[in-house]
Amino acid sequence: MLRENQRRFRLDWITIILFLLLIGFGYVNILSASHVGEITSYFDMSQPYGKQTVFIGLTFVLIVLILSFEAKFYERFASLIYLVAILALLGLFIFGKDVNGARSWYGIGSMTIQPSEFAKFATALAVAKYISDLQTNMQTLKDQIRVAAIIVLPALLILLQNDAGSTIVYLAFFFVFYREGLQQVYLIVALSVITLAVLALKFGIIAAGILTSVVLVARYFLKNKKRPNILQYIIVLIACIAFSYSVKLFYEHGLKPHQQNRISLWLRLEKDPAKLELMKKREAYNLIQSEQAISSGGWTGKGFLQGTRTTGKFVPEQHTDYIFSTVGEEWGFLGSAFVVLLFIVLIIRILYLAESQKSQFSRVYGYGVASIFFVHFTINTGMVMGLIPTVGIPLPFFSYGGSGLWGFTILLFIFIKLDSNKINEW
């Protein structure tokens, strides 16, 4: 009986410790970034840090709840959970509340809840469920389209609610599909698309065309066996140029001005100094403040609650999306590198566990979890230190907010539960 119990609860403590470290350190930084004047009580509900205390407390209730379900529950009810999430997203169009121009929240009294944060784990479950079906073959177009539909549906709904940042997160599933057998050509196309888009914007369509031609010609001559039809090559070239052109068109006419400016700043496209100055005051203001705060931290930082730029609230939204700049200022290079390391180790640990799963469902789900964390971490941290254009998504476990925290906790602990069960599976 005792053996049975031990088997059932083989939790991966390494992951849990990493999780606790992130939550704890995140809380410390939210405290710094959001306090105004003296901190009188950690439960001061008028302050973000007070609310975060409660959110974290509830998180542990949530964890106990998740772990108490049978592991099989999640596989069995994946579709249902997905359905509920989609309904919740749809409901926003009727009952939703506008915050900062995005209709992504339900208001319940003074509380707000953001269903898109929960849609992630639901989608991950649904994707895992679909792919792990014995009938599914990721090499076939039919299944590719169906599995794509699973992620496109929530992504589209979120985009329609004007939350472009959260939509981008769904690209994370590409890593999952690729792992599960998606053809190589998709990866090549994906990389080409990114390269071409950047090239077209930064250096113009002609440059993109020339580079494509060079690559194609090289490929043509290096292929020493049978030379394929030259017509194919020409079609690819035309497609690439057409794509570059459409990227340019989309950039100029399809994007909203603030999105356009973010990309312009990232690729340093604006040459007019007057306009650039204006952009620096508006779109780049956050970024500049955030970089300055991080830079001013130096090796060891200014210490907890000692960040002058954090205390002065120089970085807007510092306790939410820009929380990493607090780490940078108050804990310096050592502190921020430590946080980067925590995330990297966490993601690698999840990947390692995912690969060791015996059921395909658990593995695919685990991969989904790792990918989602990876995309969130990369985009958020990259943005805060000025490597990636501004995209408003939270840093898992760090950023202030109940929905985000709970969404990520559920995402992670379902996997921990699945993992703890792997011994029982044959």
Binding site: G181, I294, F374
Partner: protein, 646 residues
């Protein structure tokens, strides 16, 4: 392979992020400096600058408040046209001025404060203060300016002015717009007088609003007031000296031999120190600075190096006695000069042959030429003799900086064997090549303060205290380099005959008409030839008038050197002025009013105009005395009366 894509991406991203953090936080970031942190506002409280008193406790320099409008360009918000117009009006500037000043401040730094309009008057300040709230990015910084309680001693007291960027770069204590001592004691005692600024660090938010003290004010400091100092100047004597120097150029330095304290330090022409206070400082300073003819900023008492002339003979007498190459009884004949080879050093008519006493009081060139030759030729080579002589002369504080507490100075010059080796080649020169040194011409140069110090050393019979200007500093002792005597290389016993000779200068020598009843003065006249380049021709001008003295003969209270440019022979101006200064210092009144009237009545301005007149002119014997207007003379008499009363 498929398993690796995500893993590789994760590791790659991790590395890139750590590298980026390293770049931002370590590589590209300078050490955290709170003064560079725009999130922390620094407010300075300026301490009271120390007061300056004269040796009798008379207040010379105090303070007056001044208000600067400062700007932090980044924080300035555009004003609407009526507000802008009003703001310019209050500051008494034009729109163009505004734009220019603003741009200048912005160029310096958009986020550090720069002075915008400085030193507002009290009434302007009162009006402006009411409206200051409207002008974001501007604020008023209170500072303290100097307020001179006197019109004399500009060269002694100096002035304070705004720090420049090179000072800020070297001394981070100062920030743009701060004031620093520029000349005189304001410069040398800057650190004592200025005190230490107080600082308050204030945490700001991104709207530039104060949100409280930074770290509860643990880094804040209170201003430490500057210390008051008392200087050695006797202001009545200084004022009297400046009056005597009126309409003349030159320097007077008077020292108390028993302490090395400088009693008076006059440089003519002088100016009113109040000219260098407030908003007009730079305008007035430029005017003084650009006057390249009268050079009022050139302190002739400290910086002018002249050939000392005859007063230097006293040193040669002392060196001769010390070296044992001459006794007081040795006599040398003088046939209107001293012949060597086919050359001759001229002299005037007097008793011959002359012993030391006659040599000194008659200032006989031939006598000193002989003594000097014996000194140099005592050794096998002139080089050895020269270095030995040079060592003795230098022990009187000549030929090097005095290393004192005055902001300017010159080393003067005392030649060594090396000087002549360089000129003629090693061992290719003889004593006669250097014979002018015997009579204080030639390669010897000295400043008036060095000559006054030399007189003090003779009066003390063999030692001196470094001449200095500081008497006391509040709660501090003055450096002991000013309180330890420096001994000359001449034994005490050799001084008496030389002192007697100098006394006889007054009894029966070149200064016999300058006697002051009741005071035993020892002195020595001097005359120095000088030249100017006029239209690229070296032209001789009227001689400089030089006088060196101390009094009384025993335990002297004052040693003095007076130097009057183009004053002709030594007793004509310098001798009279020295005797008057001595009488005024010792007695507190003037009995020789005939001498005083002479000095106050006659101007040398016409002498100074000669080189610029483009006309031929006569010098020395052909020069005439030029009286000033009777009205101006009466004015001088009135000033004298006022000095007496103060």
């Amino acid at each position: 392979m498929r398993k690796l894509l995500l893993l590789a991406s994760v590791i790659l991203v991790g590395l890139i992020f750590v590298a980026r953090l390293f770049y931002l936080q370590v590589y590209n970031s300078t050490a955290y400096n709170i003064f560079e942190d725009s999130a922390i506002k620094k407010e300075f409280t300026y301490p009271k600058r120390g007061y300056v008193y004269d040796r009798n406790g008379k207040l010379l320099v105090a303070n007056q408040p001044s208000y600067d409008v400062m700007v932090i360009p980044r924080d300035v918000e555009p004003l609407d046209s009526t507000d802008f117009y009003e703001f310019c009006n209050l500051l008494k500037i034009t729109k163009a001025d505004y734009i220019k000043k603003f741009q200048k401040a912005k160029n310096y730094s958009p986020r550090l404060p720069s002075p915008f309009v400085q030193q507002l008057s009290k009434s302007d300040y009162a009006v402006l203060q009411e409206k200051m709230r409207k002008y974001t990015g501007f604020y008023i910084q209170k500072r303290s300016l100097r307020s001179y309680q006197t019109t004399i001693g500009a060269n002694v007291l100096g002035d304070i002015g705004e720090v420049n960027k090179s000072i800020i770069a070297k001394q981070p204590y100062y920030r743009l717009g701060d004031l620093i001592g520029k000349q005189g004691i304001e410069k040398t005692y800057e650190n004592t007088l200025r005190g230490t600024k107080g600082i308050t660090f204030i945490q700001k938010d991104r709207f530039n609003k104060n949100i409280g003290p930074y770290k509860d004010g643990i880094y804040d400091t209170l201003p430490k007031p500057g210390k008051d100092i008392t200087i050695t100047i006797e202001s009545k004597l200084q004022a009297y000296g400046e009056l005597l120097m009126k309409n003349k150029r030159g320097g007077i330095v008077a020292i108390e031999p028993s302490s090395g304290e400088i009693l008076a330090m006059v440089s003519g022409p002088s100016y009113n120190p109040n000219l260098l206070v407030g908003r007009d400082r730079s305008k007035n300073f430029n005017k003084l600075y650009r006057d390249s003819i009268a050079k009022p900023l050139f302190d002739r008492g400290l910086q002018a190096m002249y050939p000392p002339g005859s007063p230097f003979k006293t040193l040669n007498a002392l060196v001769g006695l010390q070296e044992g190459v001459v006794t007081t009884k040795d006599r040398f004949s003088c046939a209107l000069g001293y012949r060597y080879g086919n050359r001759k050093m001229g002299c005037h008519v007097h008793r011959s042959p002359a012993d030391m006493n006659i040599g000194i009081y008659e200032s006989c060139n031939a006598y000193f030429a002989n003594v000097y030759r014996r000194i140099i030729d005592k050794y096998d080579s002139p080089a050895e003799g020269m270095d030995n002589w040079s060592k003795h002369v230098k022990s009187f504080g000549l030929g090097n900086y005095l290393n004192n507490d005055l902001s300017v100075g010159q080393p003067g010059k005392v030649p060594t064997a090396e000087t002549y080796n360089r000129g003629y080649g090693k061992n290719r020169w003889y004593t006669t090549f250097t014979l002018s040194n015997a009579i204080g011409q030639g390669e010897v140069l000295a400043t008036p303060i060095q000559l006054a110090n030399m007189a003090a050393a003779i009066g003390n019979r063999g030692y001196y205290y470094t001449p200095h200007i500081i008497k006391t500093i509040e709660d501090e002792t003055i450096p002991n380099k000013f309180t330890t005597p420096k001994y000359t290389t001449i034994d005490k016993r050799h001084f008496e005959p030389v002192v007697q000779g100098m006394h006889d200068v007054y009894n029966k020598g070149t200064a016999k008409r300058l006697k002051v009843p009741g005071i035993e003065i020892c002195g020595k006249t001097g005359t120095a030839e000088n030249f100017a380049i006029i239209d690229s021709v070296k032209t001789q001008l009227t001689d400089h008038s030089i006088f060196v003295a101390f009094a009384p003969k025993d335990n002297p209270k004052i040693a003095i050197a007076v130097f009057v440019e183009n004053g002709y022979y030594g007793s004509r101006f310098a001798g009279r002025m020295a005797s008057l200064m001595i009488e005024y210092y010792i007695k507190g009144e003037i009995t020789r009013t005939d001498m005083e009237n002479f000095v106050l009545r006659y101007s040398l301005e016409h002498e100074y105009e000669k080189p610029f007149s483009n006309e031929p002119f006569g010098i020395n014997r052909k020069t005439i005395l030029d009286p000033i207007d009777e009205k101006d003379f009466q004015q001088n008499i009135k000033i004298k009366a006022e000095i007496n009363k103060s």
